[in-house]
């Protein structure tokens, strides 16, 4: 840690000792985010206990029953960003209360969660530096992702990540080439629909195709969403396994030349693509086409661009004339689809199909059939940041952290109800402070209500409940079942029922 950081830390200890932060003091400032608001948040609202319950997966360090990995939580890496630009990696805590005091002491602007390591990350210095270097931890991650590693015997005692949730990061900036409403960090309800689509497609695939059940979706605080898959087999995935899953969930990369033509799709379409299309097309019609969406098929310009990608030029010209006749984008899309379908079956019956121009020889035949998928996918298919998902050791912003630019809390999103999730209604620190005040005022006479944990007095209540419903409770149940099973197995072995 730099001297400056140390200094800062000491100052903060001093100041945090002097006052129990009051709501009033925190809300004085008119901004959405301030150090005072953050202190208030960490002192009174951050759900330490539920977070600890989640990340320990039933491995309570105070439970001395058999088959409990008591240092499981202690081996988890947390990383803090304090003062916007000072990173402190390899933080680790025995339990919820240690985590709480560390967070309250350091007042991190950002909290990231990393992997579970072979030993508590705060002790990682006890492993020889050169071993860490060889393993590629400490800034050189991934150098030895190759499983052929020359010092196998060192691996066993080395400091290395063993498991972590399978994570996905979807960021609106990756949609810039198709967003006509905003760019960069800005978002609006018009483009948020892309996030909704991504959540639906990815969530469905994770559950139906991969059989994952404990999935947590989280708003990233500004312009994207994160996904944490917490099933035991997801947490145990190798780097290769993570790559395979994220590649399966991504569109095949068409090469630059065929971009927009074939989009890398080939016939027959994989069932996961057909399903994604069924999910996405209605949203494409309502959320991308026309004025209400991104203005696609709204103007001559826009339908020209779209029809240029059609692999049948005559058909494209015919359709161009039709477009002017029709009055709205939805009707235009229906017309295009029905004509393409007609042309495609006409091609299929005649040899003309062979002449349709298209990308690769094999797909040329099906270029017309593929076209509508390509159009919809080009706009709507989830654009995952693959590098976040690929490594076991990648850090990701913690749920319930606060985004310093917006002051919004990274709350979980219910994938069942993602249509109704509105990023602009996610509580800010200021709003939360006001909610506590309002609650306390309302229940001035009710002692038991006043004694509630503060987060239960605010909108965060439902957010924490969502965390519990998505991962904490089902995982706790699974752990209980696993322990029971282990005990029975053991009892059977020693003949003691």
């Amino acid at each position: 840690m730099t001297a400056a950081a140390e200094n800062k830390e000491n100052m903060e200890i001093a100041s945090s000792n002097t006052n129990k932060v009051s709501v009033a003091a925190a809300a004085i400032n008119d901004q959405e985010f301030s150090p005072e608001l953050l202190r208030f948040f960490y002192n009174r609202l951050f759900p330490y206990q539920p977070m600890f319950k989640w990340l320990s997966y039933g491995n309570d360090p105070d439970n001395d029953a058999a088959h409990i990995v008591r240092d499981y939580f202690a081996c988890r890496e947390f990383s803090f960003t304090i003062n916007d630009d000072i990173y402190i990696r390899y933080q680790s805590f025995r339990d919820a209360s240690e985590m709480e005091s560390a967070i309250q002491k350091k007042q991190p602007h950002k909290i990231d969660i990393g992997a579970v390591f072979t030993l508590p990350p705060k002790d990682h210095h006890t492993v020889k530096a050169e071993v860490r270097e060889e393993l590629g931890v400490g800034g050189k991650a991934g150098r030895h992702s190759d499983h052929i590693f020359p010092f196998a015997f060192l691996l066993r005692q080395a400091f290395k990540p063993v498991e972590r949730e399978l994570i996905f990061d979807i960021d609106m900036t990756d949609y810039d080439d198709i967003r006509s409403c905003c760019t960069g960090a800005k978002i609006c309800p018009k483009c948020w629909v892309f996030m909704t689509m991504a959540v639906k497609v990815v969530d469905t695939a994770l559950r139906e195709d991969f059989g994952f059940r404990y999935i947590l979706w989280v708003y990233s605080g500004r312009r994207g969403v994160h996904c944490w898959v917490c099933d035991p087999n997801a947490r145990a995935l190798s780097n290769d396994g993570r790559s395979a899953v994220v590649e399966y969930l991504s569109l095949p990369r068409g090469n630059e030349k065929s971009k927009g033509k074939n989009g890398g799709l080939s016939w027959p379409l994989h069932p996961s693509f057909t399903r994604a299309f069924d999910i996405l097309e209605p949203m494409f019609e309502s959320g991308v086409l026309g004025e209400a969406g991104q203005g696609v098929l709204d103007s001559e310009n826009s339908w020209d661009t779209l029809l240029d990608t059609l692999p049948d030029e005559d058909l494209a010209n015919r359709l161009r004339r039709e477009m002017r006749r029709l009055t709205n984008a939805q009707d235009r899309w229906l017309e295009i689809k029905s004509q393409v379908r007609a042309a495609s079956s006409a091609h299929a019956s005649g040899n003309a199909r062979r002449q349709s121009r298209g990308g690769r020889a094999g797909n040329g035949l099906f270029a017309l059939d593929l076209w509508k998928y390509e159009v919809v996918f080009q706009y709507c298919y989830p654009r995952l940041d693959v590098n976040v998902s690929k490594g076991t050791n990648h850090l990701l912003k913690s749920p319930f952290a606060v985004h310093p630019k917006t002051g919004r809390v990274c709350v979980p999103i219910d994938p069942e109800d993602v249509d109704n999730f509105d990023p602009f209604r996610v509580p800010t620190l200021k709003a939360l402070a006001a909610q506590i005040d309002a609650f306390d005022a309302q229940n001035a006479q009710n002692a038991s209500a006043k004694a509630l944990p503060d987060y239960k007095k605010t909108e965060l209540k439902s957010a924490v409940e969502l965390l519990e419903r998505c991962v904490v409770d089902p995982v706790a149940l699974a752990t209980k079942r696993r322990l029971k099973l282990e005990r029975e197995k053991e009892a059977a072995m020693i003949g003691d029922f």
């Binding site: 052929i148 087999n233 995935l237 396994g241 399966y248 069932p271």
Partner: protein, 514 residues
């Protein structure tokens, strides 16, 4: 060595024996516990090595499909039959595998080589099993995957049909085969065991299971084999210090990887010898890059350092330069910068030594490619080694340009070298400088042995120009095998240390000087 094994296994008498389906193939999860003689130890290992190297060279020659399988079958039945699963076969298969596992665990290069060719051998043997035998093998190896029921296949018909079976296996040809799903057997496999297929969306997934058609199963099993062998090699590496404490097998194991099992070009006594006056012309025309570089620098500097003298000297010996000529050749060059006296004292001895006339009287064999590639690289002022392996891109490019290789071919060869395909790059060099060679001559061993390169080139010009370009030597490799007296255990050792008896490791028997 080859001849020995042929004598043992040459006439297959096993037609009467019943095939033992449960022992035809193994994942080699546990090492066998058995006593064997040291002789068997080496023999078994070299026989298996011969098979793996044959796989490499068949692939290097671009052989695929049925042709590949037929050739490999031939080689396997010559070296180590593995068709019946008799106790004898299993024993040899197991023991030889584990010896080579130890011998090939030391470096990343060795491990990768072994992993690649063992996996290919495994795939070949797996594909050879019939469905019944395959099922038995899977069951006993803990690869018992659920077969998807007919009802489930019907239920999922549309989805299964939508996943093309796109075969990329070597030898299968590429293309999309649409499967008639109701007639194909599908297996339910945890998706984590079919990552390749998952990543490329070449499989239907439901509830965490991949529905893998039987046609795809082979690659899944091979992937399992590969990953467990990869782990095994690391474990073997961890056990290395222990193995090396055994003075009897340590040298065998350490030298195994450098053993050359092809033609060794040690028989130089037959046929015409080369004319020393042709060497400059031949260096340009017929020598591989490694030797060309040595020759040019010898002419330029009138001197070569130890490893260079050895590499080039043995090559010339293999190419048909006799001892007297060799001494004359080196003397003429070296005495341009030193007196004859100095030459005789310091250098003539070692030449006579590697011709087997001094010291322990061992007739040294020319270096093969793997020895040159894996051996010590050239230091400052040294020119031995393999240019494709040891030169950086700029120097290699310059070198090839000076050798008259066109820009396109240069790029390709540099790319191959970068991908660590040094021998392929060398083959490419041969092909570009000997257009149409394939149809004229046998290119056996080109890219595996500098002398094979040279011999093939000589044969090429002989064919092309009627009776040889000039006074061409008899370099038909087939005329040399019969004269080959040295076993593959003949590692070149270090002829420069005249009293180097202690260097004679790697084999129990030295070969008698001719």
């Amino acid at each position: 060595m080859q001849t020995t094994t042929r004598a043992i296994h040459g006439e297959p008498t096993y037609t009467r024996v019943k095939r033992e389906p449960t022992r035809l193939l193994s994942l080699y999860n546990t090492a066998p516990q058995a006593e064997i003689t040291l002789e068997e130890f080496e023999l078994y290992a070299l026989d298996r090595l011969q098979i793996l190297r044959s796989i490499e060279s068949l692939r290097l020659r671009g052989m695929k499909g049925d042709e590949f399988r037929m050739k490999l079958e031939e080689i396997i039945s010559a070296c180590m039959p593995m068709t019946l699963g008799t106790a004898e076969e299993v024993r040899k298969d197991q023991i030889s595998h584990f010896i080579l596992r130890i011998a090939y665990c030391k470096t990343e290069d060795l491990r990768r080589w072994f992993l690649k060719h063992e996996s290919e051998l495994f795939r070949f043997r797996l594909e050879r099993l019939d469905s019944n035998e395959r099922a038995k093998f899977m069951e006993q190896s803990g690869l018992a995957y659920d077969v998807v029921s007919k009802e489930d296949v019907l239920r999922l018909k549309a989805q299964l049909q939508a996943v093309p079976i796109f075969s990329q296996q070597p030898g299968y040809g590429q293309g999309i085969h649409t499967v008639e799903v109701t007639r194909t057997q599908f297996f339910r496999i945890p998706f984590t065991q079919a990552l390749d297929l998952v990543a490329h969306r070449q499989v239907f997934l439901e509830g965490g299971f991949a529905y893998v058609p039987v046609e795809r199963l082979v690659s899944i099993i091979v992937a399992r084999f590969r990953s467990s062998l990869s782990r095994g090699l690391l474990e073997a590496f961890g056990a290395m210090p222990y193995v090396l404490t055994d003075g009897r097998i340590a040298p065998l194991v350490s030298n195994m990887a450098k053993q050359y099992t092809g033609k060794d070009f040690s028989g130089t006594k037959t046929g015409d010898s080369l004319d020393l006056n042709d060497l400059d012309m031949l260096a340009d025309r017929s020598m591989p890059m490694c030797m060309r570089v040595l020759h040019k620098n010898l002419r330029l500097e009138h001197k070569l350092k130890h490893w260079g003298r050895l590499q080039y000297g043995l090559f010339l010996k293999g190419a048909g330069i006799g001892m007297e000529d060799a001494i004359q050749f080196w003397e003429k060059e070296f005495t341009k910068i030193m007196t004859t006296d100095v030459f005789n004292k310091q250098y003539a001895y070692s030449i006579r030594h590697y011709f087997g006339k001094e010291g322990k009287r061992k007739d040294y064999t020319p270096f093969n490619c793997s020895k040159i590639i894996l051996g010590p690289g050239p230091g400052h002022g040294e020119f031995h080694g393999c240019p494709f392996r040891h030169y950086d891109e700029a120097n290699l490019n310059k070198l090839l340009e000076r050798a008259g290789v066109g820009a396109m071919d240069r790029d390709e060869m540099i790319k191959l070298s970068k991908g660590q395909h040094y021998q392929l790059a060398c083959m490419k060099h041969f092909e570009t400088t000997h257009k149409g060679a394939e149809s004229l001559i046998s290119m056996d061993g080109v890219g595996n042995h500098p002398n094979a390169f040279f011999a093939a080139s000589m044969a090429f010009y002989k064919e092309k120009n009627g009776e040889g370009g000039r006074k061409g030597g008899n370099q038909n490799p087939s005329s040399q095998t019969s004269a080959s007296s040295a076993g593959p255990g003949e590692d070149a050792g270090d002829p420069a240390s005249p009293h180097g008896e202690s260097m004679e490791i790697g084999t129990g028997e030295g070969s008698p000087p001719a």
